[in-house]
Amino acid sequence: MEPLLKVEGLEKRFREGATTIHAVNGVSFEIHPGEAVGLVGESGCGKTTVARCIMRLTQSSAGRILFDGQDLLPLRGSTLRRQRRGFQMVFQDPSASLNPRFTARRTLSEPVVLHGIARGSAAEQLVREMLGKVNLSGDYLPRYPHQLSGGQKQRVGIARSLITEPKFVVLDEPTSSLDMSVRIYVIDLLRRLQQSLGVAYLFISHDLSTVRFLCDRVMVMYLGRIVEMGPTAEVFAHPRHVYTQALLSAIPIADPAARRERLLLKGETPSPRELKPGCGLQDRCPFVKPECLRPVPFYELGGGHRVACVLARDGGTKRD
């Protein structure tokens, strides 16, 4: 099947005075129609930058982003705006991502009208239907964001992203600002919507347990590069990159009886200013070898599981 989204060699560099920050350093991946893919990593790994590049909110420095076969990066102006109908985004902070002066009705009908999908009462009808899909009644239409709870605001944000019937939605930490019991409610809603509407997700999060719940595949990022990717259950059960292992072992498990082996990395994440060739973990990895200082290729482990770690060499075939 042709991938819906194909990212090739994406790079993003920021200039800060004399130094260059390599926020995204050669990221490539594919997302197929109807698939939910998670992108995880800690702060500064570049996952939000990847999202912003795909959504054309930030200018990329290099690479290609093919959506439905068409490269998004050279698009401008009204051509780009027309394409936006097909790929949408849900933002992290529901209080900041809704215009405080727009009622829910206005927030939701704007994309419908902008893309010429419907006007007047037909638009109103669409808006009501969409609101119903996120379990909000029509009573919420005249409400302003400050009259809604966190979970309700985020549901409006989700409705806004789906109302133009996009094929692909980027979700940037959509539940990080929400309370625990609201969080699972919203994630469950996202899963049901995905299944009923057949939309593909790129789900960005630092919270691996929500990714486990929602995503079929997962990609782990560190210092601007993807270090491991594959089916979620497989990667979480058998992480092959040292960073993935450290990440998973650091997550506290809500079970006091569970025995944990913690893999600790030395020190802290280096700043993306001090970029060295080779694996980004070289200064912190307890198993570092000389080969790690040179660019590390992906090794295929079968079943779509691939990892950029020399330690995996012994368990799979090398792939450039």
């Binding site: 979970g151 609201v182 409610y185 979480f236 650091a250 809500a254 006091p256």
Partner: protein, 332 residues
């Protein structure tokens, strides 16, 4: 619960806030205790009153707050009856508090070494040079590598994780008997968070201090705390030791909470249905504040004050239904 030998014993604390819509009872009959040499987790979602409880203990309540009843016993004195002068003597020296935003708690204009040294100068009347040496030493103890050099940094030059360590260092500089940590790792990466909690456990083991750890993260509680206090909407729902509560949560709210947790290491069970509570309803209610969402609530739950039912040694459940044998479903 009158807990003999408890370092901190909050008894039946009820406090209200004056709002434009009239007084609202934020905390109702809150009782919890922290014993010597243990870490107790205070768990609840936002709005559960856990931070207000901590602020009441420290004497940091806003002027709109009114203590209706209750006591906070600490080292033989009722903190609520002390004047500002006496509280100042206790704060920092006997009780310390670590807040959520570490960088916000540090003075941006002073180097971190100087800030830490000042704590020693003020609280322990140390001469400047000695205080500075102690500061460097303490920073090393909290795991800041290359302490002699880092000590000259300003708060904006260090990472969030490091700032949190500096704050921790400042708080334990005087070996307080009680350390209150309010969501100390919010916003920090999970690997840094793991380091922080390992550090906290180490420090607690070394100093044998009592720690009240406030958090909404049940994973953190499971790995760090010996006992838990579960709060909802200003009331304590269940208290007990970690192992038994996780294995056999008796209160319907605790069960709900535990079933909402998503875990990395196992596939997921279908989540509970039902949206978040309506706050207007909650704060206006008498009786149990979880009643409006509780699957097994009956009339008496809404009418009468919460009972305290013992479900085992050190395990109390504040639920009318528990006595009858309901709410015993195990969730693991």
């Amino acid at each position: 619960m009158n807990a003999p030998g408890a370092v901190l014993d909050i008894r039946d604390l009820t406090l209200s806030f004056a709002t434009s819509k009239g007084p609202v009872t934020i905390l109702e009959g809150v009782s919890l205790s922290v014993g010597g040499n243990e870490i107790v987790g205070l768990v609840g979602e936002s709005g559960s009153g856990k931070t207000v409880t901590a602020l009441a203990t420290m004497g940091f309540l806003p002027p709109a707050a009114r203590i209706e009843s209750g006591q906070i016993d600490f080292e033989g004195a009722d903190l609520l009856s002390l004047d500002e002068q006496s509280m100042r003597a206790i704060r920092g020296r006997r009780i310390a508090m670590v807040f959520q935003s570490a960088r916000g708690a540090l003075n941006p204009l002073m180097r971190i070494g100087d800030q830490l040294a000042r704590v020693y100068q003020i609280q322990r009347a140390m001469p400047q040079r000695q205080a500075y040496r102690e500061a460097v030493d303490m920073l090393r103890r909290v795991g800041i590598a290359d302490a002699e050099r880092r000590v000259r940094a300003y708060p904006h030059q260090i990472s969030g994780g490091m700032a949190q360590r500096v704050l921790l260092a400042m708080m334990i500089a005087c070996s307080p008997a009680l350390l209150i940590a309010d969501e100390p790792t919010t916003g920090l990466d999970v690997t840094i968070q793991a380091q922080m909690f390992d550090l906290l456990k180490d420090i607690q083991a070394q100093t044998r201090a009592s720690v009240l750890l406030i958090t909404h993260d049940l994973g953190v509680v499971a790995e760090t705390c010996r006992r838990i206090v579960v709060m909802y909407a200003g009331q304590v729902m269940e208290t007990g030791d970690c192992l038994s509560i996780f294995a056999q949560p008796r209160h319907p709210y605790t069960q709900h909470l535990l079933s909402s947790v998503m875990r990395v290491d196992r596939p997921v069970v279908a989540p509970p249905v039902g949206g978040p509570p309506s706050e207007a309803l909650v704060y206006a209610a008498r009786g149990c504040r979880f009643a409006h969402r509780c699957p097994i609530a009956i009339d008496v739950c809404r009418r009468e004050a919460l009972p305290r039912i013992s479900a085992g040694p050190g395990h109390d459940v504040m639920c009318h239904r528990v006595g009858e044998g309901y709410g015993a479903a195990a969730e693991s």
